[in-house]
């Protein structure tokens, strides 16, 4: 009897161990391993060969392996301001888009969270619905809307509001539009999850204690939804900073985004080592906000939850 219980316990424990180990294996295989490869390439020299970079170990001298590592590619990135401008451009694009998503998404998330039952589920479904269509197709759809002979220009010309088509595409405006449109759900969902859990009596209680509507928002609702705000911002900011498709399809020649520079380096210049260095630096730029978020999250876990 006792033995039976024990084996069952062991079985469960083994199962649990696998359940815990699997995500780490996944990360090891699909995140850490590629990262190490990229890191290795970023420290190699370019070659006109296949693969187009020098190997890590050099066997040239009498059976001795020589470690071939260089930081030249990283130094190259900062030789002129080409890459720096692209990094800064990406940071600005991502920051402005994140702010726009927050300003648009917060009221939407609050509104949805305050609806009852069926309506709330329908509205939430409407937020998620675009995911059912390929991301690329949706960006192409925007091209159809925005180009000089697109839907918007045609309607405006036909109704006589404008005489000449507006240049809506191939500029920063179109990139902002594309990013905000694409990433808005990633802002709304964590905000909604947070706001939906908030006890509405807290709002009444604050009003009852003499707070105006504005005070209620800044004293109660916003602080309590802060983890949602930070989560949503990171979910928009991180993919937006490395975004390639949207600036490539909707952006102009002067749209500075690191994703495009990276693409050019890999596929046009075929300089894999420099391209790898670009992505390693990008990763470092992204790791900082993620670590900050982790700290906030763990602090929040102890304090706020009732």
């Amino acid at each position: 009897m006792k033995g039976g219980v024990n084996t069952m316990g062991d079985g469960r424990r083994r199962w649990l161990r696998w359940a815990l180990v699997t995500p780490y294996l996944w990360l090891l295989l699909f995140f850490l391993a590629p990262f190490v490869i990229i890191l290795k390439i970023s420290m190699a020299d370019p070659l006109v060969a296949l693969p187009p970079f020098t190997p890590l170990l050099d066997w040239a001298q009498q059976g001795w392996a020589r470690l071939h590592l260089t930081l030249d590619n990283y130094l190259f990135l900062f030789q002129d301001n080409y890459y720096v401008m692209h990094y800064l451009g990406s940071l600005k694009m991502a920051a402005v888009s994140t702010l726009l998503c927050l300003l648009l998404g917060y009221p939407m998330a609050y509104f949805i969270a305050r609806q009852s039952g069926r309506r709330r589920h329908l509205l939430l479904l409407a937020v998620i619905l675009p995911f059912w269509i390929s991301f690329l197709l949706r960006v192409y759809a925007w091209m159809g809307l925005l180009n000089t002979r697109g839907v918007i220009n045609t309607v405006l010309m036909w109704s006589g509001v404008i005489d000449e088509p507006l240049q809506l595409m191939y500029n920063d405006f179109a990139v902002y539009l594309g990013i905000v449109y694409s990433y808005l759900p990633f802002m709304i969902l964590p905000l909604y999850a947070r706001l939906e859990r908030m006890d509405h009596d807290l709002v009444d209680a604050a009003l009852d204690l003499g707070a105006r509507r504005r005070d209620v928002f800044f004293d109660i609702i916003l602080p309590l939804s802060m983890p949602g705000v930070i989560g949503g911002c990171l979910l928009v900011f991180i993919p937006a900073i490395g975004e390639f498709i949207i600036p490539a399809l909707l952006g102009g020649a002067d749209t500075l985004m690191i994703g495009r520079a990276l693409w050019d380096e890999f596929f046009i210049n075929r300089d894999w080592p420099v391209a790898s260095a670009v992505s390693v630096v990008l990763l470092l730029i992204l790791v900082l906000p993620i670590m900050w978020f982790q700290r906030i999250q763990s602090r929040d876990g102890v304090g706020v939850r009732a």
Binding site: D199, D201, D204, A206, L209, G210, D219
Partner: protein, 372 residues
């Protein structure tokens, strides 16, 4: 209360409702209620869920605006005044403590919004927290408090603003039984000390009876009866109140004749003639009900002394509760009567058993005549 302000026609009410209504679409939650509550009262609104009591409370706090009627607090029309400008504070059933603020910050919040100076806030917060015996936990977050402690903080947060009226939504519902009794008396003492008018909303008749100076029994958005706990219990105005407050036996009857304050009835439920004392002179032949509280009934094997209303029956069920016993006695007509008897004598054996033939009797003045 020493002076019963509600009996004084010249007394100025602290809260006055005039034909106050609230409709949500087709549903009328509160249906034209009139009420006067006087300074220093601990007034209870008693009703089942869906009776409209919570809506009424939310209108008093200013969270809902009335569809019709008027609401005055201390003589000032507050019908359209937003909650943050009312001299009213509320203790929520969920307590609604701000989870990201400490106990002291929670209590200070209302004063901060009022623009009270820093030194005064600190002083008033410390004082009220001592008053509710929470001074030692002022740095804690609400999540680290027990239910009883949260309740005290919620109370302190509402009281520190020195409102003219304090609203309490089911103040004791979230506490366990032991704590409830204790808190109940603390609440009464605090109210007495501060002299603030309290209005309590509750579905628990026991809570309403013990706490309050007066009770309004609410049903379908209207007040069925307003009165002191004694009046509501001993002189229920109608069958709903009689049934809702405490437990009661209701016997169907028809009026035979009226003789001054004595009404002679033909009681169908008991299958005999019966006498009741009543000021209402019902028309002979009209239907009515005789209502008797279980504890007003004497149960005995021997025939009772004359002058009491008596019926015969058979013990159908009995329950022993230590201090009292509850009997369910079946009358010859099949009607079931509930009787409760204090166990005054110490005895290890039951004096009455199942299927014993017994007499149920009560004083003529103990029964109530109800006409609707």
């Amino acid at each position: 209360m020493a002076i019963e302000a509600w009996n004084d026609p010249n007394a100025r009410p602290m809260v006055e409702l005039r034909g106050l209504s609230k409709r949500f679409g087709d549903v009328t939650a509160v249906d034209g209620v009139d009420l006067k509550v006087f300074a220093g009262e601990l007034f209870a609104i008693l009703g089942a869920s869906g009776s409209g009591k919570t809506t009424l409370l939310r209108m008093l706090a200013g969270f809902e605006s009335p569809s019709a009627g008027q609401l005055l607090i201390d003589g000032v029309d507050m019908t359209r005044v937003p909650p943050y400008e009312r001299p009213v504070n509320m203790m929520f059933q969920s307590y609604a403590l701000f989870p990201h603020m400490s106990v002291a910050q929670n209590v200070a919040y209302g004063l901060k919004k009022e623009g009270v100076g820093k030194a005064e806030i600190a002083d008033r917060v410390a004082r009220i927290l001592d008053q509710v015996k929470m001074g030692h936990l002022s740095g804690r977050k609400p999540a680290a408090l027990s239910g009883g402690e949260r309740q005290r903080v919620a109370l302190a947060r509402a009281l520190v603003k020195r409102p003219k009226l304090l609203l309490l939504d089911e103040p004791l519902a979230a506490l366990d039984r032991k704590l409830r009794e204790h808190t109940q008396f603390e609440l009464m003492n605090l109210q007495d000390e501060l002299g603030i008018t309290f209005m309590v909303v509750t579905h628990d008749q026991e809570e309403a009876m013990t706490l309050s100076s007066r009770i309004a029994v609410m049903n379908h958005g209207r007040f069925e009866q307003i009165g002191t706990p004694e009046a509501v219990y001993e002189y229920p105005g109608n069958r709903f109140v009689a049934d809702f407050v405490g437990s009661i036996n209701q016997l169907e009857a028809t009026v035979n004749r009226v003789d001054a304050d004595r009404v002679l009835l033909e009681c169908a439920s008991a299958g005999c003639e019966m006498e009741v004392v009543s000021d209402a002179a019902p028309a002979p032949g009209s239907d009515c009900w005789v209502a008797v509280r279980p504890e007003k009934i004497l149960i005995s094997k021997a025939p009772p002394e004359t002058g009491r209303v008596a019926v015969k029956g058979v013990v159908h069920d009995l329950g022993y509760f230590g201090n009292l016993s509850i009997y369910r006695v079946e009358l010859p007509t099949g009607h079931m009567m509930k009787v409760s008897a204090q166990n005054r004598q110490r005895s290890a054996t039951k004096t009455l058993e199942w299927d014993d033939e017994v007499y149920l009797s009560w004083e003529v003045g103990s029964a109530v005549l109800l006409t609707d």
